[in-house]
Amino acid sequence: MFGTVNHRRAKTLYRRYGTKVVSYALLILLSLVMIVPFLWTLSTSLKGADEAIFSFPPKFIPEHLTFENYKAVWKTLPIPLYLRNSLILTFFGVLFPVFFSSLAAFPLARMEFKGRRFIFVLVIATMIIPVEVTMIPIYLILNKLGLIGTYAGVILPNAVSTFGIFLMRQAFLSIPREIEESAFIDGANVWQIWWKIMLPMVRPMMATLAILSFIASWNNFLWPLLLLDDSNMYPLTLGLYKLQGVFVSNMRYIAAGSIIALIPIMIVFISLQRYFAETAFSSSIKG
């Protein structure tokens, strides 16, 4: 008798807490798998020169925690320069797509004009042209324009995002008609309507697009690799890639450099996390 009672109690206990315990166990395991490479890199970057990096068993917590590698990287390697270059490229890599997409999406959403449908279909059609296919002609065009070895060359191929136009159009479509009608009555011109009335209303979508562009340009590797020869112009991704080849022996420096490259991404990610779910959902419309 007691047995059945206990059995039943165990069952309700399991119903109540069992799935929770299993869920947490799985979640912790999965999160560990996701962050172990980062932890290992962080740990390597904090290990002193006299401490072995690869030991069996691996040591995740350095014996003598030191920031020497970061200081050394900052002083002896061009990491601050690369960081500055990355910031410049990322600034334009965010500004241009957000600006040009917001410009182009406005008439597509709010104006009646001849050829609107055609232009919209054209814009959507470019979404299926992957850069991996077109990188050769793009390179040749940049060459013709004399933009090899310049930041303009790195920035321009991604200066407008078709997906961005699509996103911004969705946002503009949701604004009620009356708003611009009353603005017209008040004597606002088209530019003012766009800048002062429309843009403030689509700010969340602009933020979403800005984040997508930030991640894309901070991580941009293909165009810097193809276009930039002068090592003084390298952004952090390309710089790390080249340094990794040269400094095979000093992994602590490379680890410190990698962590430095991760910090801006982490800051943006943590401070703007509520937008990230949206970015993923909205990019799922993309197909």
């Binding site: 691996p58 104006m111 009646e112 992957p130 296919v133 407008v160 009608e181 990698s258 993923a280």
Partner: protein
């Protein structure tokens, strides 16, 4: 209110950029595939020569085979695993947001940093081999052995992609009306039965979407191969796009590289049309 020149004024910058960096290149790459061009000498029309060369090029077939192998390793895993992860993180648990963010974060990391981190993890004296040694398994030199190089890269891609597809599935899960689960519960369905009879059928369009997106991503991948293995060992991780990159920018064989790119273009277009067809059928 609006005049049509207003529209064109707003559209102009984007249209010029799209024209120069999307449309013209898309047409030019096809034209270029019928030419021989090494940047120094002028272009020369060679007809189908590049395609004939392609059909007989063992390197191309090897790259295509490798791409299919990579796709085979990556896409099923990225279609299936994130469903379970999404179900897991769709529960109302304390701290669930933290777990979602942690699982998603690897997706945001640049290919260079990913390559650096995983290069160390996969070294013969690295963390992965230590974990294996705990199970009494021999260490493997993951990236320098022909049989393990591509699976290692696939594993990294899966690690990086799980969180992204998890979020897409999560959106799909949250669109499923709760009443379906509630009525199933009244009928006495347990956790697993509910997933099998409600979650999977309701997620079908999302599953298809993820399959297409991850397939296209797999066909386009090459930076991971470039920074981790340089296509090696012995061409084992040389993918189609890697070959395009190598032929175009290392051998300056622009015409031939464009022929490979055109073939890839056709594959991508076919996948896109397939996707559209399916979506139209689902929505009608």
């Amino acid at each position: 209110m609006y005049k049509s020149y207003h529209a064109w004024f707003f559209l102009l910058p984007a249209l010029v950029l799209l024209l120069v960096f999307n449309f013209i290149p898309a047409i030019w790459v096809i034209l270029l595939s019928f030419m021989e061009y090494n940047v120094i000498q002028p272009m020369e029309w060679v007809g189908l020569a590049n395609y004939i060369r392609l059909a007989n090029d063992a390197e191309f077939w090897n790259a295509l085979k490798n791409t299919l192998y990579y796709w085979f390793l990556v896409t099923p895993a990225l279609v299936i695993i994130p469903i379970f992860v999404a179900v897991l993180v769709n529960q109302k648990l304390v701290g669930i947001k933290f777990f979602r963010l942690t699982i998603y974060f690897p997706f945001l990391v640049s290919v260079v940093v990913t390559a650096i981190m995983w290069g160390w993890m996969l070294r013969s004296d690295g963390v992965i081999n230590y974990a294996l040694s705990l199970l009494n398994l021999e260490p493997v030199s993951w990236l320098t052995k022909k049989s393990t190089a591509m699976p290692s890269l696939a594993m990294i891609t899966i690690w990086q992609g799980i969180g992204y597809y998890m979020l897409i599935y999560l959106g799909g899960l949250q669109a499923i009306p709760n009443e379906l689960y509630e009525s199933a519960e009244l009928d006495g369905a347990g956790f697993l039965r509910k997933q099998w009879h409600i979650t999977f059928p309701m997620l079908r369009p999302v599953i298809f979407f993820v399959a297409v997106v991850s397939t296209m991503a797999a066909f386009k991948e090459f930076t991971l191969m470039l920074v981790m293995t340089e296509g090696g060992p012995l061409g084992a991780t040389q993918t189609v796009v890697y070959l395009i990159f190598e032929k175009a920018f290392r051998s300056l064989d622009m015409g031939y590289a464009s022929a490979i790119a055109t073939v890839l273009f056709v594959i991508i277009l076919a996948l896109t049309i397939l996707n559209r067809r399916f979506l139209d059928r689902e929505t009608s």
